[in-house]
């Protein structure tokens, strides 16, 4: 059976994605900083879907461990889903480098580091698929969350470059741009219901898009147009908006 590796498996979105793939009989590798906290999910996947799920300790910002991490996996995953991220606090990040760097590293450098390793393995094998969960926040910097947004922008650009590079080896790279998702990350925010996806919906859409090898995926279709409009606003006007 094919295997899916989930990097950042503790997030609500990753849990839903793991379940969706397990329901289709994929084996699942759960990787996260607190491996012990992933045990209940591991049990859950095995009992509900009768597949094999394993747990692996993984820290996105421990760059020099990434090669060993991948080498130590029981099997090379067919699909790697990069689902970790950190929203952080924009205002704090403006004054406190610790917070700013946490946001940058968790959303960008960490992802680049681990996906570099995986990309090389897939390229050599001439097979594999990488799914990166980026964000619509990366489409244009806004005063309310441009530190997170810039890290995601970097990640989105990285993914499109990677897609370009790996195309010739038959390796597919998909970027996912969820808009608002109702998760623990956003539970203190009040989100517009029509634009907010449930993690299960993200999982369904991602699963389908993986089967169809989509390149760029907007989970809720209005986002594609909202972001298009936001990108089209001329800078002299945009800078005056409170976004």
């Amino acid at each position: 059976m094919p295997t899916v590796l989930l990097l950042g498996a503790g997030s609500d979105m990753a849990v839903a994605i793991a379940r969706r793939f397990a329901a289709a009989q994929y084996d699942i590798q759960l990787a996260g900083r607190q491996a012990a906290a992933l045990r209940p999910l591991q049990q859950d996947l095995q009992i509900r879907y009768g597949i094999t799920a394993t747990v692996h300790s993984f820290d996105a910002t421990a760059y020099d461990t990434h090669a060993d991490f991948l080498a130590a996996l029981p099997v090379t995953p067919d699909i790697t889903v990069c689902a970790f991220g950190y929203l952080g606090d924009q205002e704090q990040a403006q004054h406190d480098w610790q917070e700013a760097s946490r946001i940058l590293h968790a959303n960008f450098t960490g992802a680049v580091s681990v996906l570099n390793v995986i990309a090389n393995v897939y390229e050599a094998k001439k097979a594999g698929m990488i799914v990166g969960i980026s964000s619509v926040a990366g489409e244009r910097g806004r005063q309310s969350n441009y530190i997170y947004g810039s890290a995601k922008a970097g990640f989105t650009a990285y993914l499109s470059g990677l897609r370009n590079r790996l195309f010739r080896s038959g390796v597919h790279v998909m970027s996912v741009q969820p808009g608002f998702v109702n998760t623990r990350m956003t539970q203190h925010l009040t989100l517009p219901p029509l634009l907010t996806a449930q993690p299960e919906q993200v999982a369904r859409v991602v699963f389908k898009a993986v089967q169809r090898k989509k390149n760029v995926l907007f989970v809720k279709w209005p986002w594609r147009y909202i972001m298009l409009i936001i990108k089209l606003i001329p800078e002299p006007i945009f800078k005056k908006l409170k976004l």
Binding site: A37, P40, Q43, R48, N182, T186, Q187, L189
Partner: protein, 443 residues
């Protein structure tokens, strides 16, 4: 996140701050850092028991932790719903030891309401099947309790409406079955006398309940249909069913997409509904083999049927009276039929013996009725409460949204003891719901 919340009866509806966590350490930190919140499952209690200014949704705390398919023991986090559990256990030949009339409730909700099913008279309530559970109490510690460990916490948590703490993990025994089908028998009863006699005659059946048409007067007063059933054996199946005895055919769902105007549910439509329901059972007795879903969860086939009662919502009034108080049952049904405020659903069931601290069931008759919220309803229900009190009965907290304080304190014999235990585990009202405030359950 600020959210509009209401439970199944759509009354009351409030704005609440909702939080949700997926890991025990997060839950613990939340409990320690907050006051005046209540754990919430799937909101299938009817009234205000899982409503509060701040609520802790358990729906994402939903991992299945272990399943011993030989001994039939399941261990889950509290937010797993019964329908998810059925999907896992039924194909392996196991069933829930006790299930309420909907499968869309969480395990935590099953414990906190100590739910009963159609088999209560023989197999008791949910609490009777738990081998152990974890509760995060007021100081943030996780206490493992069971019928023989930390028994005060155990018994105050079963039926305790979330007031002793947050239930996080439950381990309980399942029931072996050969097929996913039920051999059922439906018997028409001309009146209350007859259905009571039939309950007695068929009490050896594992599952039983009756639908009552409570608008009838005179000779047909209490006219009803008794439904009894047993898990079908393989030998009792035929055709398609026999080929895959543990697999159910999948089917599309119906849903009521919005609130219907309340005038649709007046006495006339209730009469018509009951007439049709009763009338379709043209024979005195029907025997057949049906999938377990329509037998246990007839209403789940229509998702959101509760919206049929309109925006104002409805109250489900469920009481229990001891076996020797049949007169009380008659008195209440009589008041309802006089008033002409019948309901679509009036469900009668006989409970078996149960000694528990604060759970609802006791040996006797229990009747559940729906009443759309309207002017004068609460006064009318206060009158019914008086009759229930007079006959030594009590109301189900899980359905309640309006009973007055003294009704609770007079009718639950262990109320004081319960409140003491709650105080010990929930000092300073860390766990608090609209219901607990209304009834002073956390004094």
């Amino acid at each position: 996140m600020q959210k509009r919340l209401a439970n199944w009866g759509n009354y009351p509806a409030i704005t609440s701050e909702e939080s949700a966590y997926t890991q025990e350490e997060q839950l613990r930190s939340f409990v320690v850092a907050n006051h005046g919140f209540i754990a919430r499952g799937n909101g299938r209690c009817y009234g205000d028991a899982s409503l509060g200014k701040h609520s802790l949704s358990m729906l994402r705390y939903d991992k299945v932790l272990s399943f011993d398919t030989t001994a039939g023991v399941l261990e889950t986090q509290a937010g797993v719903t019964l329908d998810q559990i059925l999907d896992i256990i039924v194909p392996k030949g196991w069933f829930l030891p006790v299930t309420p009339g909907t499968k869309f409730i969480t395990v935590g909700g099953a414990v906190a309401s100590d739910v009963h099913g159609k088999n209560h008279h023989l197999e008791g309530a949910f609490s009777g099947h738990i081998t152990e559970m974890d509760v995060i109490i007021g100081d943030g510690t996780t206490v493992t309790c069971s019928p023989d460990r930390h028994t005060d916490l155990y018994w105050a948590t079963c039926g305790g409406m979330g007031l002793t703490g947050v239930i996080t993990r439950v381990k309980f025994g399942l029931k072996k079955m050969e097929t996913a089908y039920i051999k059922q028998k439906q018997i028409k009863a001309r009146n209350l006398e007859e259905v009571v006699r039939l309950f007695d005659e068929y009490k050896h059946y594992t599952y039983s309940m009756a639908w009552i048409d409570c608008l009838q007067k005179g000779d047909s007063f209490g006219r009803s249909i008794l439904i009894v059933g047993e898990h079908a054996t393989k030998a009792e199946l035929n055709g398609k069913q026999a080929q895959a005895p543990l697999q159910l055919p999948s089917k599309p769902r119906l849903t009521v997409p919005f609130n219907l105007p309340s005038f649709i549910l007046n006495t006339f439509t209730v009469k018509a509904f009951n007439w049709l329901y009763y009338g379709k059972n043209f024979k005195k007795e029907i025997n057949n083999v049906v999938p377990y879903e329509p037998f246990f969860y007839p209403l789940d086939a229509i998702l959101h049927w509760n919206r049929g009662y309109g925006k104002a919502g409805f109250i489900q009034y469920q009481f229990v009276l001891s076996l020797d108080q049949k007169d009380g049952l008659i008195a209440i049904l009589r008041r309802i039929s006089e008033k002409g405020w019948g309901s679509f659903l009036a469900v009668l069931k006989v409970f078996g013996r149960q000694d528990s601290l604060i759970s609802f069931p006791m040996e006797g008759y229990t009747l559940a009725l729906d009443f759309p919220v309207r002017k004068g309803l609460f006064e009318f229900l206060d009158e019914l409460d008086e009759i229930v009190l007079q006959y030594g009965g009590r109301l189900y907290l899980s359905k309640d949204a309006r009973m007055k304080q003294d009704v609770f304190w007079k009718s639950y014999p262990n109320a004081e003891r319960f409140a003491e235990i709650v105080k010990a585990y929930n000092p300073g009202k860390r766990f608090e719901s609209l219901q607990s405030e209304r009834l002073l359950l956390t004094k």
